[in-house]
Subunit: 359 residues, 2 copies
């Protein structure tokens, strides 16, 4: 059915479609549906602890049987706390606390996004997921060796050719080429300069030319046309996120779901005010007034601690104006259909397009 | 040979490849080569006067016989001169004037990029080019009516779905979807906010869905893979610029040619310090130290007047550090082969890829 079988053989999947792991807005439910349709189900674990991660894997396996699962983790280095900067950030946000009637003491003391560590690695050694994907590079050598020794295939995201080469040289079994269009956090780790970030159309073939491992295209792919275009540019498969956020299985808040439904091509920006690292999401009041890029935002993940209570209060009132409503530039191409049906439709429509294009 | 013939029939060309009109770095020589290979040859006229434009058309027609030609113009509204802002801009650049030994009086009194006007329209009525393309929207109704009455097919660039709809509603025969990856000036005209600009992968299918006229994909397309990917996303054809700058027929300066040869995926940024409007080009000292986006830069095209003498002096010394070396994010995919051979190669390789992808 697919002429390029590299990714299918590597990951033991039927179709070259990887569900993007979307921390905070998706869980095993979405992964199960995509896996049942023959894609790779991904569970975002970057905001979960070990027990929660174990429960997600159990849920997936109870429903998806022998289908492979991908567990995704952040691998950022935790920055030293900068009390001055965090204080200044809280001061900058103070008017919103007053306006929304939020107690400043509600600001979270710790961050909700923690890097992959020894305890999580031990869980991997126990549950042995078929695939593990990382964001922001790769974990330290000792941890990575354990992950690979557990039999997990390793993926990570590159936003430049240099990052792709680094990932391939350091043990990735496949590289995700994350174009500028992609929703969510940019996987950038060799540079944090957003001005030179590269669109999928230009990034993908240059990464394909630079590495020998299979390349998975991400960013702007939300329908069958995007899948075929990615294959034309040399991808062995695609990673799709935002299109699946429309599905009933996603865990987006009502304002986020509404934003997806009303999305325009130019509705999103790269912003660091949600977490401290550049991420693409829908423009809302917080981003419009404080960003999109702010020099005040503390380093990832600490910027999020002071924003979280504003998000919680506003969201309880039905507003997404202080939330990180992450999404990519092709959000408007998505449709609110169940994820298994969406996956089947993507496959069938892509196959038909491939046949039609040959004339 | 091509299953989608909409653009071929509209523009009377053999292959769905439009040479991007690149003011200042290309002329009839490149257009002739592309036209002879069956693509649409484009002559950038935005920095030419009427006599120079007439001479370019004569040169093209003497060499390319009955092949259609596309003349390209800027249609920006000239802003009122802002003496304070221009003074501040010159002050900001003064250290470079001193360092390079350039007389401040050398700053140009007027701009080198003028909008399409009555005199140029009269020339079109005389020489009747088969195609006219505009950048920054469309000319005033009275001028546009004369262009269309002269039998010219009209194209213009859209950087958002809203701009594409506006162009289609206002008389464009085809719309160029200019993605974020594209080199040169962004065609944006309904908004100048670069933060929400859209990558080709996401922009193209959304514009295809929004308008009924044929859509030409631009931005990040530099080889056959890009052509096939654009067709998959729904384009009726492609516009290619940077890949042709590598050709011996282009008029790039030696530093610009060297930058193209050494290009990396992340070598360019959007900057307004070259002209006052956002354009994508190679990062150099001027852009690194003054930009990439500067609040000081006077409105387009006046920012360029004070930069021009620095460019001239540095370039005479073999340096591109003060030049607008415009290029897109796929520059590294280009090769220094003659433009006619490049065009033939793009066509043959794209056709082979289309056959191969069908399996």
């Amino acid at each position: 059915m697919w002429t390029d079988r590299r990714l299918l053989d590597l990951l033991h999947i039927e179709h070259p479609i990887v569900l993007s792991p979307m921390a905070g807005v998706a869980d095993a439910a979405l992964a199960i549906a995509v896996a049942q349709a023959g894609g790779l189900g991904s569970i975002p674990c970057g905001m979960l602890d070990v027990a929660q991660t174990r429960a997600q894997v159990d849920t997936f396996r109870a429903a998806a049987g022998g289908k492979p699962v991908n567990l995704n983790f952040f691998v950022h280095a935790m920055p030293a706390r900068n009390n001055t900067r965090e204080h200044d950030w809280r001061e900058a946000l103070a008017p919103y606390y007053r306006e929304l009637g939020v107690d400043p003491a509600a600001a979270m003391a710790s961050a909700s996004r923690m890097p992959f560590d020894d305890a999580m690695c031990a869980l991997l050694e126990e549950v042995r997921p078929e695939v593990v994907s990382f964001h922001y590079g790769l974990p330290a050598d000792a941890l990575l060796r354990r992950v690979k020794a557990a039999g997990c295939k390793v993926l990570s995201s590159a936003t430049t050719v240099a990052e792709a080469r680094w990932l391939a040289d350091n043990g990735c079994d496949a590289v995700i080429a994350q174009g500028f269009e992609a929703g969510g956090h940019r996987g950038m780790f060799l540079s944090l300069d957003t001005a030179t970030q590269v669109g999928t159309f230009a990034l993908l073939p240059q990464i394909v030319d630079a590495v020998t491992v299979p390349v998975i295209a991400a960013g702007g792919i939300a329908d069958a046309r995007g899948i075929v275009a990615a294959l034309a540019l040399g991808a062995a498969g695609v990673q799709i996120g935002t299109a699946y956020l429309h599905c009933p299985e996603s865990k987006v808040t009502p304002p986020h779901r509404a934003a997806l439904k009303e999305a325009r091509d130019d509705a999103t920006v790269l912003t660091n005010v949600i977490s401290g690292r550049p991420a693409r999401g829908f423009v809302n009041r917080l981003i419009r007034e404080m960003g999109p890029m702010s020099d005040l935002a503390p380093d990832f993940p600490y910027a999020g601690a002071a924003v979280q209570p504003l998000h919680a209060k506003a969201q309880a009132q039905g507003s997404g104006e202080f939330s990180g409503m992450l999404a990519g530039q092709a959000a408007a191409l998505g449709r609110a259909v169940p994820a298994q049906a969406l996956t089947h439709s993507l496959v069938e429509t892509a196959q038909a397009l491939l046949r039609r294009m040959a004339g």
